[in-house]
């Protein structure tokens, strides 16, 4: 198994956000004290940082496959306070990136959701030049947006005109981004590894869908695997934390 030979900590160190985000943690818990995720999920950023700073390859691999690294909401409140100048949120970002590059993210329910993010925000960027566009926020899949959004969505031209905009116009809000600009974005994604990350997410997700025996399509969102990843909730995200360290030591994984 060649993956066992790889030094994951060194891989993390290549990420400048990791270098900036983790010096030496003294386990004070100041991050967890104000962490919105720690209050909602069985999540403890202090513990993640402590596990990562063991530099133990097996422990880090377990983390990359775990649910726990996907609980953070990246509010970065932890950065303001850490007395050692760490940023657990940035450590999380580096872990998530590596988890996707290695295809480990499909091992967890929350990790598999990355496929949905790629198919929404990710695709939007290269298709429209925006992360989010009004015509892509369908009230049927966003009932929580409430009646006002349903109204806006159904009368988009009229409503936007009232506010001084033009849908797919030449300038202003929700203007049409021309093809030559989109080509520039696509080139940037190719040159900087953005496209490679998209491809890695797609590839691992397709493999996982097959493994789970679910329908998968190369584009769009109307198929079983997509619907599954956006809505699945195994109700275990408030259970006692997975004891990554213990698992590793006891099973020798």
């Amino acid at each position: 198994m060649p993956e066992l030979m790889e030094d994951l900590y060194s891989r993390l160190l290549q990420d400048v956000r990791f270098e900036e985000g983790l010096k030496a943690c003294m386990n004070c818990g100041i991050c967890t004290g104000i962490c919105p995720a720690a209050e909602y999920y069985n999540y403890d950023p202090r513990r993640i940082v402590d596990l990562v700073q063991t530099r133990n390859n097996d422990i880090i691999r377990e983390l990359l496959k775990s649910e726990t690294i996907w609980y953070c909401g990246q509010c970065m409140s932890c950065k303001t306070r850490c007395p050692r100048g760490n940023t657990p949120g940035m450590v999380i970002m580096a872990l998530r990136k590596l988890s996707q590059e290695l295809g480990y993210f499909t091992a967890s329910e929350k990790g598999r959701q990355q496929f949905a993010l790629k198919r929404t925000v990710g695709d939007n960027v290269l298709k429209y030049g925006y992360c989010i566009v009004s015509y892509d926020v369908d009230p049927k899949v966003h009932p929580e947006q409430g009646p006002v959004w349903e109204h806006y969505y159904n009368h988009m031209d009229d409503s936007l005109a009232r506010l001084g905009g033009e849908l797919n116009g030449r300038e202003g809000p929700t203007r049409l981004i021309p093809d030559d600009v989109l080509d520039e974005l696509k080139n940037i994604f190719k040159v900087t590894g953005g496209q490679a990350l998209f491809d890695a997410i797609e590839e691992a997700s397709e493999k996982k869908a097959e493994e789970m025996g679910m329908e998968f399509k190369k584009e769009g969102r109307d198929f079983e695997y997509y619907r599954h990843v956006v809505s699945a909730d195994n109700s275990c995200h408030q259970n006692e934390p997975e004891d990554v360290r213990k698992d590793v030591y006891e099973t020798g994984r």
């Binding site: 919105p36 970065m76 566009v133 809000p173 981004i177 590894g193």
Partner: protein, 355 residues
């Protein structure tokens, strides 16, 4: 309440950033142009028409990819190059000051500038990447301002032109206003924010200049709960609602008249979740249980300057502002909220809060 204002002033004095006086290169927000387009349009209108400033918008600018970045599908190298492309457009047009309409973007611009400072090789790599991908080159801008920084800078000028104030005209008392900053404004890099991270002054300064009273409540600093993947993926939305509800529960005892918000996501979630919470829990917050209107700073500035609330876009919030407008003495015909291009009336949405 139970606070010494001089203590806050002391902190505010320590975090005064440079906000340029004129000549801005404007970049839009994905969320705001989608959900609160009126706010972006009125930022431009107030700056250009009321304050006589030069704000340039290049239609070739795009998303910064920030939501993708914090949703972990866009790598740091990629977003650096996308932002550098905006710098290139500014350089080509001769602008040195960036005005950013989004707190997520603003946080990313701050992070990128700080990264380039601490790891100069990342700036060099970004230059190479951008040139290779687009043939463009760029100068690092002299300043970055969030658009609220700019309104903050001119808050007294706006106050001098005010037609309405944040005052209940029936009692003469100041309105009770909750401010929400948005985590990425200054929690990551306190010196980039007016007033720093713990007691940001950017919205407080506006509200006080325009006659309102600020409420400081225990969960003021707590995240609205957007959490990127925590909202964007349906199964996770409980996280988002949970955080916002925590804030509402904490501010409710102060009976706020309104919330003024800094960040596109926060503005949306604090409005949307009031609807959802009512549907799930049957609870409506606010002074009279009528919901708490959540306004952008441009919407508030626009009301103060006497602009038509329905052109500002106040009707495009689930929590309608009619009681608030009445309190401020602003006459606005509710039947004119939802109009078609030709001026005819559209059917009204049902089930709004304060509809």
């Amino acid at each position: 309440m139970y606070m010494k204002p001089e203590g806050k002033k002391r902190i505010w004095a320590e975090y005064q950033k440079e906000i340029p006086d004129d000549h801005f290169f404007y970049v839009r927000s994905c969320i705001r142009q989608t959900f609160f387009a009126g706010s972006e349009q009125y930022f431009l209108k107030i700056l250009r028409d009321d304050l006589g400033k030069d704000v340039y918008e290049d239609p070739r600018h795009t998303t910064c990819t920030g939501i993708g970045y914090h949703g972990d599908v866009v790598p740091f190298e990629t977003i650096q190059a996308v932002v550098a492309r905006h710098f290139a457009l500014a350089t080509e047009a001769g602008y040195k000051h960036i005005a950013i309409s989004c707190v997520t973007s603003f946080g990313i611009y701050s992070e990128i500038l700080e990264t380039w400072k601490h790891f100069p090789e990342t700036l060099e790599r970004t230059r190479e990447n951008l040139y290779k991908a687009t043939g463009r080159t760029f100068d690092v801008p002299e300043t970055i301002s969030h658009t609220s920084d700019i309104i903050y800078k001119f808050r007294d000028q706006i106050a001098r032109k005010a037609k309405y104030h944040l005052i209940d005209i029936s009692t003469g008392e100041p309105l009770k206003v909750v401010e929400h900053i948005g985590c990425h404004y200054s929690k990551m890099f306190p010196k980039y924010g007016v007033g720093g991270a713990e007691f940001p002054h950017v919205l407080v300064g506006m509200v006080e200049a325009w006659g309102g009273d600020i409420i400081d409540y225990p969960e003021r600093r707590h995240c609205c709960g957007f959490g990127f993947r925590q909202y964007l993926v349906q199964a996770n939305r409980g996280y988002s609602l949970f955080a916002t509800r925590k804030k509402f529960e904490s501010m409710q005892p102060y009976r706020p008249d309104m919330i003024i918000a800094n960040c596109p996501g926060c503005t949306m979630f604090m409005d949307r979740w009031q609807y959802t919470i009512r549907e799930i829990d049957g609870i409506t917050y606010g002074a009279d249980g009528q919901g708490i209107p959540v306004l952008t700073y441009e919407e508030v500035a626009g009301l103060v300057l006497g602009y038509n609330p329905w052109e500002l876009g106040l009707q495009y919030h689930n929590v309608q502002s009619l009681p608030l407008l009445r309190k401020m003495g602003i006459k606005a015909d509710p039947s004119e909220r939802f109009l078609a291009k030709d001026g005819s009336r559209l059917p009204e949405p049902e089930n709004l809060i304060n509809g």
